[in-house]
């Protein structure tokens, strides 16, 4: 049986990817950011996931305004790094797991989550920066990845509660997959940041730290927080945090927190990171 062995949450700031790709991760500005992921790299080398279900959002790379799926699941054999206007990131092509991805799509749809099935999709920094943070710069990513793209660009994104319930449905779907697979679910994006308008640069440490606490301890309470609170308190792009609730929903009610990291700033953004393990009831 496939089983979910851990959840990871992390910001996916594009400038972090650029720092890695341009060999600038040792600079004073970036050192504290990457220091927060040293423990994570050691942990994941031992945890050895077979598959990561990677929840992220596309930033007008694969999806423009022509087509805006709320929840899209990548079922392809592989996914190429997107050209976001500077040329594609020099990172390995992402290998999918079509069999599990199709099983998830079918199970989720029959479980009343109407997923969009994607057979061709380039993946942008939202997906590749978390891989770089956790795995560094290998010649090939050490696991399969199932991209799960969430619309958080066009208002309204799905509610936090819908995201949390999707995570629970993912847990049911993974548990019904007959192969013996070690599966992790990652939630990415956030934390507080605003990229647009006169309020650009907004950071709300208090909100972020409270979010981390509640995500771990009281996810049902966090799931009920409305969009307006995220946009007002965590910035217009801070609303990406609803994606972390998908990861959390896929874990057990109680979790063990293995690692927590918080740092301001990476470019315009507060960086947050969690590693959680399920605690079977």
């Amino acid at each position: 049986m496939a089983r979910i062995t851990a959840g990871v949450a992390t910001s996916h700031v594009p400038a972090i990817g650029a720092a890695i790709d341009n060999g600038r991760s040792g600079e004073d500005y970036w050192k504290p950011v990457f220091a927060g992921y040293e423990k994570s790299k050691g942990w994941i080398a031992g945890a050895k996931p077979d598959v990561v279900i990677l929840v992220y959002n596309d930033h007008a790379s694969a999806f423009s305004l022509e087509l805006i799926p709320t929840f899209a699941i990548g079922c392809a054999e592989s996914f190429a790094p997107a050209d976001e206007g500077w040329g594609p990131r020099p990172v390995p092509t992402v290998q999918g797991h079509p069999e599990l991805a199709w099983h998830l799509a079918q199970s989720l749809i029959l479980d009343e989550f109407d997923m969009t099935i994607v057979n061709r999709m380039d993946v942008d920094h939202g997906l590749t920066v978390p891989l770089s943070l956790m795995f560094g710069q290998p010649d090939a990513w050490p696991c399969k990845v199932i991209p799960l793209a969430v619309n958080v660009v066009q208002y309204p994104p799905p509610t936090g509660n819908r995201c949390f319930k999707l995570g629970q449905a993912i847990a049911r779907a993974v548990a019904s997959f007959p192969q013996d697979l070690n599966v992790q679910v990652w939630g990415t994006g956030g934390m507080s940041h605003q990229l647009q308008g006169p309020r650009a640069g907004l950071i709300n440490r208090e909100f972020d730290l409270a979010f981390l606490d509640r995500l771990v301890e009281d996810p049902e309470v966090q799931a009920r927080v409305p969009h307006i609170d995220y946009v007002r308190e965590a910035g217009s792009e801070g609303i990406e945090l609803v994606m972390w609730l998908i990861m959390r929903g896929a874990l057990t009610r109680q979790v063990r927190e293995l690692h927590r990291f918080y740092h301001v700033p990476a470019s315009n953004t507060a960086v947050g990171h969690l590693i959680l393990e399920p605690v079977p009831e």
Partner: protein
């Protein structure tokens, strides 16, 4: 209908249905800059390139003027308009400084000091 609470957030344009409808062609023009040949064509003659898209004159002018806040007001979305910035060789932080009306040095210093504070920035009422 009750007052839209998002309109009470200062310095913030929510990319909602109204903005998306208004800005569709502006954003799709931005999307075209994902391809290198289009970036070259735009740089060679910006006005002629913009005329390929059924955008309003006002929208085209905000692009020509690199009026980043003006683009947002006319339906632009930051993930799309930032493709113009990429074409210009500007970073997200550089246009964020312009949009918030400060120098890049001051903006970078603000971020290093913990970012723009939430106090006074929650509501147009100054909370």
């Amino acid at each position: 209908m009750a007052e839209n609470p998002f309109k009470d957030i200062p310095g913030t344009t929510l990319f909602d249905a109204e903005q998306s409808r208004k800005g569709y062609h502006l954003n799709m023009f931005c999307m075209s800059l994902m391809k290198a040949p289009n970036r070259e064509a735009f740089k060679a003659d910006e006005r002629a390139y913009l005329d390929r898209y059924p955008m309003t004159q006002a929208q085209k002018q905000t692009v020509l003027d690199r009026d980043w806040n003006g683009m947002l007001a006319l339906g632009g979305n930051i993930y799309f308009t930032s493709k113009i910035a990429a074409t210009d060789g500007l970073s997200f932080q550089q246009i964020a400084a312009v949009m918030s009306g400060v120098s890049q040095a001051d903006y970078a210093a603000m971020m290093l000091a913990g970012g723009r504070t939430i106090e006074g920035n929650r509501s147009k009422g100054g909370v």
